[in-house]
Symmetry: C2
């Protein structure tokens, strides 16, 4: 195989493929990026067994072929090349020669034919969303997926498409995040639990343009995202997702409106006193016109008053400040509405159209 590409195209391609290279693995071929030069295309492919990425790289094919190169050293070499055209050539012994002006590298590659390719996904009737929307919806729900391995289903985001609405949900036992997105077209009902890891990596390589689309294909065991020159395939999480509609209620006793930035910054300050595993709860005292936040810890104490608009009853309630602050961080509205019932019932942060719903469970005030 022999190809010639610009340094910048190589870097772009390597950076995308790297997202699927596992951090730790004993299987050496999984640590590789596969370079395929065939049928007029240069492609970089990487996979960790669950997640696979494949991206086209602009360049010239001097000789067709495939070669697998250890991803870490390949990406480091590419990054340190002078800004010139680079030729990459492999021989029958899988030795890779990288040449750039008067600079030569030689790296031992691996037989590309032992590389596991991405599963073939039937590409029929794609669901189309803009890159901007997909990136947003991941950012706005990924933070509340479960971190522990106890319940595999919690480690993913639930994609549920019905007619022209995409509903993304995640939960971790303390909170639920839901985003409802209106799509341009209507689709048959389909659902999938997509691993959080895959979505995290995808959102890093989405350029995020409002006018650039992503095509999504969902099969029984896989989801496939196609955008720009890149294809990402992820295995789905098996199992049935929670019925979040049953967990959500629209009853409330107290509704407040508050400036999001002020509340976020105040919560951020309280976390100075809750470093040890974020366990230190805060007390929120809601009365007419004023929301008062209090925290006490062996390190010190803090209180702050924020202006609010209130409807309904006064209420005192305890929270893990991080759970509220995680939700506020991803909301783009300047003023948010919070709905409460009492000190023991969930608190909701949501907009009027339910385009986002964040449920946060309180902490029993008796334990504070």
């Amino acid at each position: 195989m022999k190809i010639v590409c610009s340094k910048q195209n190589l870097i772009n391609g390597v950076n995308i493929a790297l997202k699927a290279v596992p951090a730790n693995t004993t299987m050496s071929i999984l640590n590789c990026i596969l370079i395929t030069a065939k049928d007029g295309y240069i492609k970089f492919t990487a996979t960790d067994g669950d997640l696979g990425i494949d991206t086209k790289v602009d360049g010239v094919i001097a000789k067709e072929g495939i070669i697998a190169i250890e991803a870490k050293i390949f990406s480091e070499v590419v990054r340190k090349l002078p800004d010139m055209d680079v030729s990459i050539e492999s021989d029958d012994n899988f030795v890779v020669k990288i040449n750039c002006g008067k600079l030569n590298f030689e790296i031992k590659g691996h037989d590309g034919s032992s590389f596991t390719l991405l599963p073939e996904i039937e590409k029929k009737d794609p669901i189309t969303v803009s890159q901007l929307t997909l990136k947003d919806v991941i950012r706005q729900t990924i933070f509340s997926i479960g971190q522990s391995d106890t319940n595999k289903v919690m480690s993913g985001i639930h994609f549920f498409i019905k007619e022209n609405v995409l509903k993304c949900s995640s939960l971790d036992g303390h909170r639920i995040s839901i985003r409802n997105i209106e799509l341009k077209n209507s689709y048959d009902t389909v659902e999938a639990i997509v691993p959080g890891k895959a979505l995290g990596e995808i959102s890093k390589i989405l350029s995020g343009g409002a006018d650039d689309d992503v095509e999504i294909y969902i099969t029984k065991n896989h989801i496939c995202f196609i955008f720009d020159d890149t294809t990402v395939v992820s295995r789905l999480i098996e199992g049935k997702f929670f019925d979040v509609n049953k967990m959500i209620s629209s009853d409330y006793e107290t509704k407040i409106s508050i400036n999001k930035k002020d509340l976020f910054e105040s919560l951020d300050r309280t976390m100075l006193f809750s470093k040890e595993g974020n366990k230190k709860p805060i007390v929120v005292r809601i009365s007419d016109g004023i929301l008062k936040i209090e925290v006490n810890s062996p390190l010190g104490s803090m209180d702050e008053e924020l202006e609010i608009k209130m409807q309904g009853r006064e209420v005192n309630i305890g929270f893990n400040p991080r759970f509220l602050s995680d939700a506020l961080r991803v909301i783009d509205d300047e003023v948010i509405d919070m709905y409460l019932v009492n000190a023991k019932a969930p608190c909701y942060i949501k907009d009027e159209k339910d385009s986002y719903i964040y449920l946060v469970l309180p902490i029993n005030l008796n334990n504070i």
Copy 2:
């Protein structure tokens, strides 16, 4: 005590004082910043026993007094305050109240009178250098101080002032760095071994202006730097520094001139193959018009040719690439001169005026 300062002035003062707060200590008072409000000045002081920093903070004194506050939590609180005037008040029980609008913090402070103040240094006949020069000279010599504790003298930079020249030297057994600086005035001969740690911290807080001066006072056991509103006092390292003049020779068999950036980038590339403790040496082959760098490792190999101007004999020599690259990183010249004798003698990088001299020992080619 009660003072009122802007958030920004507090942050500036805390950031400077923090540089002397030890990372790990069992003595809780050393973890504190001492606030002194007296005689019309607000001062923040911190010390780790060897290094002490004291800086003035603009603000209003409502009530004179002193209080010691745990530096870490104080700096975190100050950073997270809204951008407004802040009042800091302590009572007889050493409780510190920090107030900013409708936000209140309460932190347990400590009795300021148990704080060890900086030693009093006799301020007579200062040596004056610009902040820019002092910052440069530290940067250009600090990288080659010895890291191990085996020889305490190596862990400092030797300051030697004679007439109107300041000579700064450091060495670590593999290399020597020397900078000669011309001063505006002449001084009595004086020398001091200044701990690298102290100089590293000072260089972080020097604003680095060419027109801003630093006054330096050297006593038997201490060095004191005064600049802007800040005083830094460091204990000196006891002992006699090496006679670096005896280690340096001006004889050579080969002199080359080379573009610094090209050589630096090439050395940087070779280090891709010398990750494990930077032990993998490179071979440098110098012949008429060409310097060729080669490296071989189990990960792969690299070679690169660079253009040079050469006088004298051809030579092949082995190096730890990091030792060359560390020196090149701090040299500001576009083209540098290197002087060599043979494969077993030190290599010198220096300018014609000897304003900088970097000696690097080679690695025996037989061991490569």
